[in-house]
């Protein structure tokens, strides 16, 4: 066979591209990194089979270029444009990505080596050994005007013989109230604390002003100071005047909680300090996965900002590693308080600028798209999932390509897939003890038969009754799905199963794996697929029925006049397509899920439509488009797992692909626009009026003008 120089160039180019793809994918799949060592390749599980599949991917690229020539460029361009559209959509969905920077749980803490200006707060008690030499013990607390406080002073051990008296002093040292008795009522009411009448209680004293107060505990006048354990408890229903204590527990809240009615946007916490105290204020996120960027300020009693900080340094993060999670947290370190008094820690997320918002949006989108576009190659098990899904999609693409070739818009592949899966599953489950070489072909054959029959039905309806195949196949899909669910629920589901699924198909009924990566397998379906692709190509291009199919696709009236038995051919076309779809179902049951599950396919067949359309219904190109589409599908799942973007994005991309790939006049549309803008040629773009909707872009090669 002699080739012209053009053909030679094309062949060379396609082989080169194929090799390039093999090299790239192998490089990623074997995870070679920077060291190209043969050992890494050999250490990979089933490395020969992985290589084989990679070579097959390369061949699919070669076939794409050889079969579609320049049109291949349009296929890729369509996908790129659709991906760009998806990128924009993802960006729109990520517009609120920056909100993560102002959202989340945070905590505030004040640390200091200095003694605390207060040692008690409401609803708290302290115990300490009473020092008879000092003769008194003092405790400090902060209160607001009108707070009604109850103060208990008691010896924890009633036998110790310590009779106490308690006084409340204001910040100036004036005695406001003194008590030395605890009545019966109180000993009963506070029986957890009080032990007898020797203890003292100040009950329900209303504080006269804001400020710090001192509790003074002494032995009752006329009694001896005895060494004993002394307890002081402070109760009040009022809100505590102070939120923070030195080295006390961290306090905090959630900034901008999602779906909250009144989201918290800033927070203030008070603490009491004395002049000269060296304090460290920390504001940090509760968990390291919270992305909020905090800033903190210290305000004095009048509300003036004394010092503020928005980002911690790396060293500070290391020093306070228990609290600070990253440099986005804020810290005020070793600040000397100028005076006694109540201070406020003010914290808020750093305000967002439009720039931050935009850059966060694109950062998130890029991250999502990174996962989307590179995800399937990032790990070998994802590569396996990609190939596995591609096998199903290629089969479905072939099934759809056959019917679309005859210009029949049958979408029955979904129902045929359900019946194929059901048939193969039932055969596998029932005759599990037959030897593998018999059982697997029988199961595949029954799946093919089931698909054939379920395809024959709408075929006959269309061919002999003229029933719209689109409507009938969609209805039959639902019927098939419900029937599958019914059989699964009432016949195959084990009685004690918690969810609707059959038992595992016995080993003998499964397709033998060629790559087994801890249960994720690529099976011999790869060989079956090569056979199917070639068979479909031969069927369409090299057999009488294929010729009839193409004739019907081109012009059904012409085919009818030309002596083609159009009815029989249409029926057979849909039934043959059913065989392939049934086998895809068998692959799902025997190769992927290894049992029958509910929702074994959620609209997979419709994705087959995209695969077939992208391939221009050419069976030799379907492997490439199937791989491409499965790649995007797997990528979208990786994206969904890694980021917050839903995998439906890929289905929207799918819709855009269909619209763009079938829009025959797209290229001329843009050319006309350009010419019109230049104003060089007046073009009449009036109504053509002869546009009869059902003439097919689906038949191959009707997309002239694609590469002009």
């Amino acid at each position: 066979m002699r080739l012209s120089s053009r053909q030679r160039a094309l062949l060379g180019f396609s082989l080169l591209m194929g090799l390039l793809v093999v090299a790239l994918i192998s490089y990623k799949a074997y995870d070679l990194g920077s060291d190209f060592s043969w050992e890494t390749v050999k250490n990979t599980t089933d490395w020969q089979s992985v290589l084989l599949v990679n070579v097959l991917i390369g061949i699919s690229v070669t076939l794409l270029i050889l079969e579609l020539k320049w049109d291949a460029l349009r296929v890729l361009l369509t996908v790129v444009v659709a991906l760009l559209f998806g990128y924009l959509m993802t960006a729109v969905f990520s517009l609120d990505a920056a909100d993560d920077l102002i959202r989340g749980d945070f905590r505030v803490q004040v640390l200091s080596d200095a003694p605390s200006a207060v040692d008690l707060s409401y609803e708290q008690d302290v115990t300490a050994d009473f020092d008879p030499a000092a003769g008194e013990a003092r405790y400090h607390f902060a209160g607001s005007e009108g707070d009604e406080v109850t103060i208990l002073a008691y010896a924890t051990d009633a036998e110790a013989g310590l009779d106490v008296q308690v006084s409340l002093l204001d910040s100036g040292g004036e005695v406001l109230e003194t008590a030395n008795e605890a009545s019966r009522r109180f000993t009963r009411q506070y029986s957890d604390y009080l032990t007898g009448e020797t203890d003292a209680v100040i009950d329900g004293f209303a504080l006269p002003a804001n400020g710090t107060y001192t509790i003074l505990v002494e032995p009752e006048a006329g009694t001896d100071p005895v060494a004993a354990e002394l307890g002081v408890a402070l109760f009040s229903d009022a809100a505590p005047a102070l939120d923070l204590l030195y080295n006390g527990p961290a306090v905090g809240d959630v900034f901008n909680k999602e779906n909250a009615d009144n989201p918290v946007t800033e927070a203030r916490y008070t603490f009491a300090g004395s002049e000269g105290d060296a304090i460290t204020v920390l504001a940090y996120v509760l968990r390291s996965n919270v992305a909020a960027d905090l800033k903190v300020a210290l305000l004095d009693a009048d509300g003036n900002t004394l010092v503020q900080n928005s980002d911690a340094s790396r060293e500070q993060v290391e020093t306070y590693s228990a609290e600070l999670k990253s440099t986005k947290d804020a810290i005020i370190e070793a600040f000397i308080l100028p005076a006694d008094g109540v201070y406020t820690v003010y914290t808020q997320p750093e305000p967002l600028t439009t720039g931050t918002r935009l850059s966060e949006t694109f950062k998130t989108t890029n991250k999502a798209y990174d996962a989307f576009l590179l995800g399937p190659l990032s790990r070998l098990n994802r590569w396996v999932i990609w190939i596995r899904d591609a096998l199903t999609l290629i089969m479905l693409g072939l099934a759809i390509a056959i019917v679309f070739r005859a210009n029949q818009f049958s979408l029955g592949a979904e129902g045929q897939l359900y019946f194929g899966a059901l048939a193969s599953g039932v055969v596998g489950l029932t005759f599990g003890d037959l030897p593998k070489p018999i059982l697997v072909p029988v199961a595949l054959l029954s799946a093919a038969t089931a698909g054939f029959l379920w395809g024959l039905l709408p075929g006959a309806l269309k061919a002999y009754l003229g029933a719209n195949e689109l409507v009938s196949t969609l209805m039959l899909n639902t019927i098939a799905q419900r029937f599958y669910e019914m059989v699964l629920t009432f016949q195959l589901q084990p009685p004690d199963a918690g969810y609707t699924a059959s038992e595992w198909i016995p080993e003998n009924g499964l397709l033998p794996p060629i790559i087994d990566l801890n249960g994720d397998t690529v099976t011999v379906a790869v060989y079956l697929l090569i056979f199917l692709v070639l068979l479909t190509w031969v069927l369409i291009q090299r057999t009488p029925i294929g010729y009839e199919i193409r004739m019907i696709g081109a012009n059904i009236k012409f085919a009818d006049f030309g002596g083609v038995n159009t009815r029989r051919t249409i029926m057979l076309t849909m039934a043959i397509s059913g065989i392939v779809a049934g086998l895809a179902g068998a692959h799902l049951a025997m190769g992927i899920h290894r049992k029958l599950i509910l929702n074994i396919s959620i609209g997979l067949a419709f994705e087959g439509v995209v695969v077939a359309l992208l391939a221009r219904n050419n069976p030799l190109v379907v492997p490439f488009t199937g791989l491409l589409y499965a790649y995007l599908r797997t990528g979208s799942q990786v994206m969904e797992r890694d980021t917050n973007i839903s995998a439906e994005v890929v289905r929207i991309i799918q819709a855009v692909v269909i619209l763009l790939i079938t829009a025959e006049a797209l290229v001329t549309f843009f050319r006309r626009r350009r010419i019109q803008r230049r104003g060089t040629i007046e073009l009449d773009i009036g109504d053509s009026g002869d546009n009869n909707g059902t003439t097919g872009a689906a038949s191959g090669g009707t997309l002239e003008g694609a590469h002009v």
Binding site: V471, T478, V487, F606, V649, I652, I658, L666, N691
Partner: protein, 486 residues
């Protein structure tokens, strides 16, 4: 086979005003897109994207009705919300249809494939945005406080008038969308048959070249037709999410947009016929909800509307073939063509079709019984074997019915020649169906002992009466004259 009491409850429920009301309720989301399909079909640009359009409108309506409460406060929002949802849903429906129209009419994309793309867009787009807004993939319940369209209350006085009270029960407390749908039937009829644009629209559908040659702007008409269809599908979608249910659910239209593609052809391409055809699907939907109380697998009842669609397609296609064949006979016989005789035969032939098609349901039930014996066992103590032989019996009877009716479906002329065989087949089949039905009815009275024979006799008599009324009488007369038989 079934639990008797339950079955009676179900049957009692079926023949009631409440059931008619529920038919009306479930018909609405089929009727509206059906009218859309009708208009686009009659303009020669059938809108396959109805399903996706419905979903988009349904979702838009829910979102805007929920956010209206945030924008105008709970009080005002509750009154404004539904209508804002309606307007925005309609707008999105129109935009979706215009997208389809632009791609098909301007960019010459294949109509069916771009319609499929619109459906993808509707199904995936709504879920993607719902996930963004609520974080849920399933439905918006509990996330969006969406509202529903108001319900129309009829004046209570109607309840006191004897005949009107029945209609009162049917029409009272229906969503305003149901009323809109009924009004739409009339509006669409008026538009298609009484306005110049409507007549142009039908002309474009019949023959675009001819229409263009007399100066009708074909593209413009088709844009209009697709826009209207998107608008009607949008209304249907809004009813789904703001009347039929009060929230949006992933893929909540569940094939109604596709069923709507089948109804115009069943309705003879006429708005009123389409209305009735939608009503039949509504009946099947309502029926599938009603017999859901029986202890048969829910999947089977869910299948019902879809099986009905396929069967309806078959009957419609068979009927079309029949008409063609009779027309051929008329052309062949010329003056001697006996129109009345052939009309009678045509009617009887359709009767046979129906009988055979109903029998197909019997086969489906038999297969289902074999597939799901547990589901059919009910509260009675039937063993699996019992169910199995009952299934085989049902299947065998159904198969026999199909076989005896099949010859008359396929060859019209035979009915003429074998009138008595036709009578036998029809009466026998009808006897079985009606007998079963009467049996069940009489069971509710105290005629327990009589019920079985009485039911069968009533069925036989009614079957014969129906056969004679549909044209059997004329047939027998004719045969007596022409062939001197009997």
């Amino acid at each position: 086979m079934f639990d008797q009491d339950l079955l009676q409850n179900v049957l009692g429920g079926i023949f009631s005003a409440a059931f008619l009301a529920s038919i009306l309720r479930v018909t609405t989301p089929i009727l509206l897109p059906s009218l859309g399909a009708l208009i686009s079909d009659r303009a020669g640009v059938i809108n396959i994207g109805l399903e996706g359009t419905m979903l988009i409108s349904a979702f838009t309506g829910v979102v805007f009705s929920a956010y209206a409460q945030d924008w105008w406060g709970a009080e005002t929002g509750k009154t404004v919300g539904p209508w804002l949802g309606l307007v925005m849903g309609l707008l999105m429906g129109i935009l979706t249809a215009l997208l389809l129209a632009f791609f098909h009419l301007r960019l010459k994309a294949n109509l069916i494939l771009s319609g499929i793309a619109i459906n993808f867009l509707g199904q995936a787009g709504t879920v993607a945005i719902m996930y963004e807004l609520t974080g849920s993939r399933g439905d918006t319940q509990g996330f969006l406080r969406s509202l529903e369209m108001p319900f129309v209350q009829l004046p209570d006085r109607m309840n006191d008038i004897p005949v009107l009270s029945f209609f009162f029960k049917v029409l009272d407390n229906q969503s305003v969308m149901t009323w809109i749908a009924l009004v739409m039937v009339i509006l669409v009829w008026y538009f298609m048959y009484r306005t110049p644009t409507g007549i142009h629209l039908r002309a474009v559908g019949e023959n675009p070249e001819a229409a263009a040659s007399v100066g009708i702007r074909v593209q413009r008409i088709r844009y209009l037709a697709l826009t209207i269809s998107g608008c009607l599908a949008g209304l249907g979608g809004i009813h789904m999410s703001m009347g039929y249910l009060q929230f949006f659910q992933n893929n909540m239209t569940a094939g109604r947009g596709f069923i709507a593609l089948a109804t115009p052809s069943l309705g003879g391409g006429h708005p009123v016929g389409t209305g009735f055809a939608s009503g039949i699907f509504g009946l099947f939907y309502a029926l599938s909800i009603r017999i859901g109380t029986l202890q048969i697998p829910s999947m089977l009842t869910q299948m019902l509307p879809f099986v009905a669609t396929v069967l309806a397609l078959v009957i419609y296609a068979l009927q079309g073939q029949l008409t063609t064949r009779v027309r051929q006979l008329r052309a062949a016989e010329g003056e001697g063509f006996d129109a009345t005789f052939w009309q009678a035969i045509q009617r009887l032939s359709v009767l046979h079709m129906f009988l055979a098609v109903i029998a197909l349901l019997g086969i489906i039930i038999a297969i289902s019984m074999l597939a799901a014996p547990d589901g059919f066992r009910g509260s009675a103590d039937y063993s699996e074997g019992d169910v199995r032989w009952r299934a085989l019996a049902v299947g065998a009877v159904a198969l026999a019915l199909i076989l005896i009716n099949l010859p008359f479906m396929l060859q019209v002329e035979r009915i003429g020649r074998k009138a008595y065989f036709s009578a036998g087949a029809a009466v026998l089949s009808l006897w079985l169906y009606l007998g079963l039905l009467f049996m069940l009815f009489l069971e509710t009275t105290d005629l327990d002992n009589l019920s079985t024979p009485l039911g069968f006799v009533t069925g036989l008599v009614a079957g014969a009466a129906i056969w004679l009324a549909l044209g059997g009488y004329y047939l027998v007369q004719k045969l007596r004259q022409d062939y001197r038989i009997v």
